[in-house]
Amino acid sequence: MNLADYQRAAEEWLRRNVPAGERADGDPIAQAKDFMARLYDAGYSGITWPARWGGQGLTQQEERAFAAAARDFTLPIYPFSIGLGMTGPTLVDRGTDAQRERFVRPLLRGEEIWCQLFSEPGAGSDVASLQTRAERDGDDWVVNGQKVWTSVAQHADWGLLLARTNVDVPKHKGLTMFVVDMHHPGVTVRPLKDMSGRSNFNEIFFDDVHIPDEHRVGEVDDGWSVAVTTLLHERLSISAGVGMGGGKDNPASLEALRRTVDTSDPLVRDELVELHIRSRALALFNRRLAQETEAGLFPGARGSAAKLLLAELTLFQSDLATRLAGPESVVDGHPLGATLATAPGLALGGGTNEIMRNIVGDRVLNLPPEPRMDKTVPFKDLKVGTQA
C-alpha cells in the first residue's frame, strides 16, 4: 500500500472509530482502554515499534502519515501518552527480552497504563541528584523515597523508576532503573494541584516497596544511561505532540483572537502580525526538522531549540491574548485566563528554558561546559536539593 492510501485508510478508520465525546458512563479511562484496543487491532498502535514485541514494524513514513490523518481528531489516548512516548520506547531500547515480552504488547493494546518516576522535590532540572533509595534485599530491591510531577500515576499499573543504589560514587554513577508495580501496598499516590487548579500531576511516596531484580532495566548503577534514553524520547514526543490535543481549540490562536478583538486598531493588528510571524517561523522550523529526519539527518539536540521556542511562543501567545481581551479575560473562568495559567507548564516540564539553552549552547554550538564539581564528588558528600 502506498503512503497516500495508507493515510486515507487511517483517516477513514479514525472517522469511524474516534468517539465523538465522552462515554455515557463517564469513565475516560475505560474509554481510552477500549479505544487503544481497537487501535491495536486495526494495526495503528506502535506503528514503528518492532513486530516481535507487538508493534507494526513499519517506518517513520507510515507514522507520519498516520499523524497527518489524525491531525483533526482528538484521540482519547491521554492515559497512555507516557507509556507510548517514553517508558515503552525505553523498554524496547534497553529492556531484557523477558521485559519486552511481558510489558510492550499490553501497553500497545491499552491493557496497562504507565507512568514515569524520575523527578523529585529536590531534583528537577538536576534529576541525577535524586535521593530516592533502592537497596538490595536478597533477590529484591527495597525502595524508599518520594517522586513528583508524575502524570497519570493515579491510573498507572506500572512505573519506570529511577532510584539511587550507590551513594559512595558520583551522582550519575549510582543510579539504577526499575519497573515498579504501582499497585504495591507501599506505593501512595497523591494528586498535586498545579497553578492552573488542575490535578494532572501526582506526588508518589514509596515506603518499603519491594521490586524483584528481574524488573531492573539495564545494569546496576547504570540507570543514568537508561534515563537519558527515556528523556530523549520524552523530548521527541513533546515536540511531536504525541498524546496531546491539536492547537485547533486554542482560544489564544490567531484564528480565535481575530474573531473577538478589534482588528481595526492598527496596534492590535500589529500584535496579531507578531503572533503570526512567531507561529509561522516555529511551524516552519518544526517542518524542516521533520524533513531532515525523513532525509536521514538526525537533528539531535537541535530539537531542544524547537522545544524552547514552543515554550516561549506559548507564554507570549497567552500573555498577548489576555492583553488584547482586557479585564474580562481574568474573571469567571475565561478561557484565556485558563490558558495563561497553564502556559508556564511547557517552559518548565521536559526541561526548563534555562536547561534548553544550556543544551543548545553545549551540544549544538559546542560551547565550553560550565565548570562543575558534582561529577567527581561522591553523592554522599554532595549538596543536593534545597539548603539554607
Binding site: 490567531l254 481575530r258 482588528t263 493588528r269 500589529d270 496579531l272 502580525v273 507578531e274 503570526h276 510571524i277 509561522r280 517561523a281 516555529l282 516552519l284 522550523f285 517542518r287 524542516r288 524533513q291 531532515e292 532525509a295 539527518l297 537541535r302 531549540a305 524547537a306 524552547l308 521556542l309 534555562e354 534548553m356 539553552r357 544550556n358 543548545v360 549552547g361 553545549d362 549544538v364 554550538l365 559546542n366 560551547l367 565550553p368 561546559p369 560550565e370 565548570p371
Partner: protein, 341 residues
C-alpha cells in the same frame, strides 16, 4: 514544501563558499568592490546567470539555488553589484530581455534596479528624474527603472546620467544618487501592477537569503570567539550569561533558515504562497539578522566596538539590509493585509 537543500544545492554552496574563502574573505570586504573577483565569480562559477533561463545562456536554476549563493555572498559581506544584479535578473525573468539577460548570464553586464522610482518620467525613449539611493549604482553598467507602468533600461555610462557616490553606513557595499536628465532608455516591456508586486516580493526573498548568510556568519564568528576568549579564568562561552544569549541567537538562525527555505521554495513552486512568504521573510529574517549582528558585536566586548574589527561591518550590513526595501513596518503591514486582519 521542500525545506532541506538537495545534494546539488549543497554542492553549489560548497563551491561558492570555497571560492569566496580564497578570493573574497571578510577581511577583504572593507577594501570594497574588486571587479576581478566579480568577473571570476561569474566566469568560473556562473553565479550571475544562476536564475537566467537557459535560452539566454544562463543556468536556468531556481530561487532555491539563488538563495544558497546569496547566503554565501552575504556571509563574507561580498562587496560589489552581485545582489543588485540578482535583483535586476529577478525583474528580467518577469519582463524578459534577451540582450540584458545574456549579458548578465555571461558576466559582461552588472545591473541594478531602482527600488523607488516614483518621481521618474519617461517619454520618447528618454527618462528623467532623481533616484536618491541606488544599490551598487556606481558599479552597475545598466539601471532598470519602472516608469509609466513599464520597465526601462538605462545605460549608466551614457548621456544624461549623473552619478554621485553616497557615504554609506555599510562600508562594504555602496549606493549612489543617480540623476537622469533625459537619459536614453530602452523600454523592455509593460509591468502591470501584479507583476510589479511579484517582483518586489521576489526581491524580498532574495534579500532574506543574503540576510541569512550575514546572520549565520556573525553567529559563527562570535561562537568561535566565545570558545577561545578567557575572562575570570574561564572561557566566556562557558558563562550562562553568554551561552544563553548565543542559544537564543541560534534559535533565531534556525527559524530564519526555515523561512528562507520556505520562501525560496514558494518562489519556485508555489506562486500563490509568494506574497505571504516574502512578507514573512522580510518581517522575520530582516529583524533577526540585525538582532544577531548587534548581539554578536556586543558579546565581543570592547574589541567589537573598534574600527579595525569586522564586527561593525556585519552590524552595518545587517541594518542596511533591514531597511533596504523600505521601512520594515511595510512588511508587517503587508502581512496584516494578506491575513485580512
Amino acid at each position: 514544501m521542500k525545506l532541506v537543500p538537495s545534494q546539488e544545492q549543497r554542492e553549489l554552496r560548497a563551491a561558492v563558499r570555497d571560492f569566496l574563502a580564497a578570493a573574497s574573505p571578510t577581511a577583504k570586504a572593507r577594501q570594497g568592490y574588486d571587479p576581478e573577483v566579480y568577473a571570476r565569480l561569474n566566469g568560473e562559477l556562473g553565479l550571475s546567470g544562476l536564475i537566467v533561463p537557459e535560452e539566454y545562456g544562463g543556468a536556468g536554476a531556481g530561487f532555491a539555488e539563488l538563495a544558497v549563493a546569496l547566503e554565501e555572498t552575504g556571509a563574507v559581506l561580498l562587496p560589489g553589484p552581485f545582489l543588485a544584479t540578482a535583483f535586476a535578473a529577478v525583474a528580467l525573468t518577469r519582463v524578459p530581455d534577451k540582450e540584458l539577460l545574456s549579458g548578465i548570464a555571461d558576466g559582461r553586464v552588472a545591473a541594478t534596479l531602482a527600488l523607488d522610482g516614483a518621481d521618474l518620467t519617461a517619454a520618447d525613449g528618454r527618462v528623467s528624474g532623481t533616484l536618491p539611493r541606488v544599490l551598487s549604482g556606481m558599479e552597475a553598467d545598466v539601471l532598470l527603472v519602472s516608469a509609466d507602468s513599464a520597465l526601462h533600461a538605462v545605460d549608466l555610462a551614457g548621456e544624461g546620467v549623473t552619478r554621485t557616490p553616497l557615504d554609506t553606513l555599510d562600508l562594504t557595499r555602496g549606493q549612489a544618487r543617480i540623476e537622469l536628465d533625459g537619459a536614453p532608455a530602452r523600454t523592455l516591456g509593460d509591468v502591470p501592477a501584479g507583476v510589479s508586486q511579484d517582483i518586489a516580493d521576489r526581491l524580498a526573498v532574495a534579500l532574506a537569503a543574503e540576510q541569512l548568510g550575514v546572520m549565520r556568519a556573525a553567529l559563527d564568528a562570535i561562537v568561535a570567539y566565545a570558545k577561545i576568549r578567557v575572562a575570570f579564568g574561564r572561557y566566556i562561552g562557558s558563562y550562562q550569561g553568554v551561552k544563553h544569549k548565543l542559544a537564543d541567537m541560534h534559535c533565531k538562525l534556525e527559524q530564519a533558515e526555515s523561512i528562507v527555505r520556505y520562501a525560496s521554495w514558494a518562489a519556485d513552486e508555489a506562486p500563490d504562497e509568494v506574497p505571504g512568504a516574502a512578507a514573512l521573510a522580510q518581517a522575520y529574517v530582516g529583524r533577526a539578522c540585525f538582532e544577531v549582528a548587534r548581539d554578536h558585536l556586543l558579546l565581543y566586548g570592547g574589541i567589537g566596538y573598534t574600527w579595525e574589527h569586522d564586527a561593525h561591518l556585519y552590524f552595518k550590513r545587517a541594518k542596511t539590509d533591514e531597511v533596504l526595501l523600505g521601512p520594515p513596518r511595510i512588511h508587517r503591514a503587508r502581512l496584516a493585509d494578506l491575513l485580512e486582519l
